[in-house]
Each structure stands twice: as structure tokens, then as C-alpha cells.
Amino acid sequence: MSDTYTLYNPTVMEHFMNPRNMGDLKDADGIGEVGAAACGDIMKISVKIQDGRITDARFKTFGCGSAIASSSMATELIKGRTIEEAMNFSNQEVVDALGGLPPVKIHCSVLAEEALKAALEDYVKKHPESAKTQLAVTA
């Protein structure tokens, strides 16, 4: 019995043990902090935005292994995306990129989506002109 057994798949474990983009951003353009009413986990995502595009992202998470891995993966995925693209971000992308999460842990990826959107909303609130630009672009 020399094998090592893990609670999550290797990708999730890797992101839990060596999380990407962990920390805070100095001079963040948008910060979102959300809590999961179901379990009590808390996730915070900070983003840096230039010319309507996410140039950098950081996270901090109070939560289980899959919550930490979800926020690590979410910050990886959204870098380089436009605000509009990021606004359409779905937790399923996190689940897929992590190679799946146990059913009871899917809400961790939802929390990552919510934290990201809260950060973008924070940015838009601080920069109302960005919303107009977005509209102009869309129109």
C-alpha cells in the first residue's frame, strides 16, 4: 500500500498545493469579495484592467481545498479576457479546467465565478465610462 490517495484529482490537488495568483493586487482596479451562504466559505478576487481587458488577477480564499483550487484556476482563466468576455464567465469553465469537482463541491466554482463578477462590477462602478465603452463596442 505505497500509493498515495488523494481526496481530489491531481489537477485540483496541484492548484490547492501550489495556487496560482494567490495574494492581493496593489492598485487593483476592481475587488470582489463574496461568501457562500451554504458552507460559509469566503473568496476575494482582485483584478487589474487596462483598455477594457483583464491584465492581472489575484485571489484570497477562506475555504476548503476545492475552493482554493477553484479560485486559483479562475484567476488563471480570466487573465487576458475583455470585461465583456469575463462577464460571461461560467463556473463550468473552472470545473472543466480542473478536470471535474465532486458534486458537493461544485458550489466552490460558483463562488469563484461570483467573486470574479463582483470584482468586475466593482470596476464598472468605479469607472462608469467603461460600461459606456462596452455598450459602444457592442452597438
Binding site: G35, A37, C39, G40, D41, C64, I68
Partner: protein, 421 residues
């Protein structure tokens, strides 16, 4: 890497003596104890010896009061449902402590759906049952009181002799779940005033697959498994002979070594708590301090600003096996009902870790755990927005409040839109 097993409340390894004693009962002594030939009679005799060994562990009058089941859960189901159904015409009310094991709580809930009523007696902040409340809860319709000897999560030793006196005065049988204490604390069913007691050998170096139910000869009980007349008709189904034989040996050795095991684990328990409280800031011991009100094997900890599953995973990656009562660990996403019952702040309950010691843990193990756990807490705090917000004065500590910032729970409720359960 050092491997430190600190989950003895979950299970323990089988002793070599126990394993040796079991082996022949898989191969040459394979008979069914209900058979009337040599093969059956031989194992029937072995069961009788095991019954005597179990009876000795809890100071029961006779081995005829010992019934074998498949595990602790079956024993508590039999104790609760068996007594409730047997006395249904006398009354349909039961009284339990609020911090009983899920096998007791969920048996009670099952009975409630069938029209039984139940009173859950509250506990204080250390998990000790409120005796006046217990006394007041008993009515003429009460047919059973269930209070465990030691709590499985926080290690509180309940004042069972006093509970037993209250039950005796009221003339109501008492069921004492001894799953968390058997083999680690002296048990005397007579001094307890217990009509029923359950325990499982796999908690004290015996095998899984066998549970024990002691029943005083005057306690009325009906079977909840229907079939043959094994176990005097109170538990149908072929007995797990090898496990019963092994469990008997484990009980005998536990009785012989009990004082040594208590002294050893008590020493380690104190060393572990002292080390953690000195090296990990903002850590809390849930339940009574090591001493007369706490079993020597258990430490239940809350490390503030970080969550329990992350702690458990990092402990495991460092070779340390622990448990947790955090919501993230439970499939229902709810914190342990025991932590809720002692009124622990939700944030602290989420940062919960349970370490349970055994006879083979060493001082070196403990020192390694203290060192590793301190690093784990620092690593997870570095990732936690709560730690940073605490450092910035946005939220306050529950364990050692500074009077700056709002509570974690208020903060969590603000950002999630509703309070965590």
C-alpha cells in the same frame, strides 16, 4: 516523512494478538454458531468467551447481557428503536442529549416521523449535559433516556452516574453510548445505572464489523432485524465470528492496559495542546481542558481565520491523519451538530480539526505535529482574506477580541447576503 495517525476516534489498527486469535476462525473454525454439530459448537464456545471478555470490560453481571451486532450504529439503532417499540404501549416519548452521535440522533428522527416525540436536552459550552433540564424533560410517557459517556467530537466526559440516578428515580431506562470511551476509560454499567450500553472493539485495537450492546436483563427490547433466533432472538443474522473473537481479545487487553494507555495519552494530550497553544496564535480548544472532564485521547481545535478541510488536507500531505467537523468536510455542508450545540461561533466551527491520540503515538510524533501544524496554519492564513482583514482591523478575532472591527460572522453575512448556518 514521519507518519502520525491522530484519528483513533475513527478507527485503530488491529493488535497482532487480536489478528492471530481471529485467523483460525476464517479457515478451520469456520462453522456457523447456530449449527448443532462440532463445527457449530466449537464457535459457539468461542462466542461465549468473547461475551465474557466484553462483559468484563464494562463490569456487567453476566455474559448473557452481551449482544453482538455489526457495529456501533447498529447497536444504537437497536437500543433506541428496540426499547421505543418494546415500550410503545407505556409511552412514546424519549429524551436524549443534544450532542449524541448521528446514529442516535437519526434513529430518534426516524421515530419522530412515526409519531414518537423526543426532547433534546441542551449542553453547556463545554458539552456537559444540563442535569436540571434533563430531569425536567422526563415525563410519565418517557420510555428511554439516551446520554453518551463521552462525546465523539469534543471528548467531554458526561456526568453519567448522576444521569443514572435521575433516570433511576424516574424509573426510566438509560442507554449510554460508550463508543468514544470503551477501552479508554473505566466503564461500570452498574455504577452508571445503565440499562443499555454500546461500544465497538475497532475503537480499541479490535476489528471492524462487530458492535456490542449490553442490555440489563430487566430492560425490555424488541428486535429490529428479523430472521433467525441468534443472540437470544434480539438480533437475527449470522454472527461475525472472527471479528467477535478478535474483539473479545481486544477488550481483554484494553482492560489490562487501560491505566497505562490513559497515562500515556493524557501525557501526549497535554504536550500537544501546550505545543499548539504556544505555537499557533488564535487557536481554541473546544470542550473541557485536559483533565477529569475530558477523555485523554481527544483534542478538538478551532484555528481562527482558516477553514478545516484545507488544514486536514495539508496535515495529510505532511503525513498527519486528522478529522474535522467543518461544514466543508461534511456532505451536508453543515458544521458538526456538536459544535453548534456548544454554541461555537460558525467561523470557529469552520476552522475545526479533531486530533485523537492512541497508545502508539510518541512524544516525537507530537512535536512533529506541533511544528507542522504551525506551518500549515501560517500557509493557509497567507491565503485567507479573513486573516488579512483581521490584520487590517476590518474583522475581529472571536478567540481573543481586540475590540476593533466587526465579527467574522457579521462580515460573512454582509458579503454572502445571509448568515451561515
Amino acid at each position: 516523512m514521519r507518519q502520525v495517525y491522530l484519528d483513533h476516534q475513527a478507527s485503530t489498527p488491529v493488535l497482532p494478538e487480536v489478528f492471530d486469535a481471529m485467523r483460525p476462525y476464517f479457515t478451520e473454525a469456520f462453522g456457523n454458531p447456530s449449527s448443532l454439530h462440532q463445527h457449530g459448537l466449537r464457535v459457539r464456545d468461542a462466542l461465549k468467551t468473547a461475551r465474557r471478555q466484553m462483559a468484563a470490560l464494562i463490569n456487567a453481571e453476566s455474559e448473557e447481557e452481551i449482544f453482538f451486532t455489526s457495529d456501533g450504529t447498529e447497536s444504537s439503532n437497536l437500543a433506541i428503536k428496540g426499547v421505543a417499540y418494546a415500550n410503545e404501549r407505556r409511552g412514546r416519548h424519549l429524551v436524549v442529549s443534544a450532542t449524541e452521535h448521528p446514529s442516535v440522533m437519526n434513529s430518534i428522527e426516524f421515530l419522530e416521523k412515526q409519531g414518537f416525540t423526543c426532547t433534546r436536552v441542551s449542553v453547556d459550552s463545554e458539552g456537559l449535559i444540563r442535569l436540571p433540564e434533563l430531569k425536567a424533560a422526563i415525563t410519565p410517557q418517557t420510555t428511554l433516556v439516551a446520554v453518551h459517556h463521552v462525546n465523539h467530537d469534543i471528548g467531554t466526559i458526561e456526568p453519567i452516574a448522576e444521569v443514572g440516578r435521575i433516570c433511576a428515580e424516574a424509573g426510566v431506562p438509560l442507554y449510554v453510548d460508550c463508543e468514544a470511551s470503551a477501552g479508554w476509560l473505566p466503564i461500570d454499567v452498574k455504577a452508571m445505572g445503565a440499562a443499555l450500553v454500546s461500544f465497538s472493539p475497532h475503537r480499541f485495537y479490535g476489528p471492524k464489523g462487530v458492535g456490542v450492546l449490553y442490555r440489563h436483563r430487566k430492560a425490555r427490547i424488541v428486535s429490529i432485524l428479523h430472521g433467525g433466533v441468534q443472540e437470544n432472538g434480539r438480533r437475527a443474522g449470522t454472527e461475525n465470528v472472527p471479528a467477535i473473537v478478535g474483539g473479545g481479545i481486544a477488550a481483554e487487553i484494553a482492560l489490562q492496559e487501560m491505566s497505562a494507555r490513559i497515562a500515556h495519552t493524557f501525557h501526549l494530550q497535554q504536550r500537544l495542546w501546550k505545543g499548539l497553544s504556544e505555537h499557533v496564535p488564535y487557536i481554541k480548544l473546544n470542550g473541557p481542558l485536559p483533565g477529569p472532564n475530558r477523555i485523554s485521547t481527544n483534542l478538538n481545535l478551532s484555528t481562527e481565520f482558516i477553514e478545516g478541510e484545507g488544514q486536514l488536507l495539508l496535515c495529510d500531505l505532511n503525513g498527519i491523519a486528522v478529522a474535522s467537523g467543518s461544514s466543508c468536510v461534511s456532505k451536508s455542508l453543515k458544521i458538526s451538530h456538536v459544535l453548534a450545540a456548544i454554541g461555537l461561533d460558525h467561523a470557529l466551527a469552520q476552522g475545526n480539526i479533531i486530533m485523537t491520540l492512541g497508545k502508539d503515538n510518541t512524544e516525537e510524533d507530537i512535536d512533529y505535529v506541533v511544528e507542522s501544524f504551525s506551518k500549515i496554519a501560517t500557509k493557509l492564513r497567507g491565503m485567507s482574506p479573513m486573516w488579512e482583514e483581521f490584520e487590517r482591523g476590518v474583522i475581529d478575532s472571536v478567540i481573543a477580541p481586540r475590540g476593533i472591527g466587526k465579527s467574522f460572522s457579521d462580515h460573512a453575512a454582509d458579503i454572502s447576503g445571509k448568515p451561515a448556518r
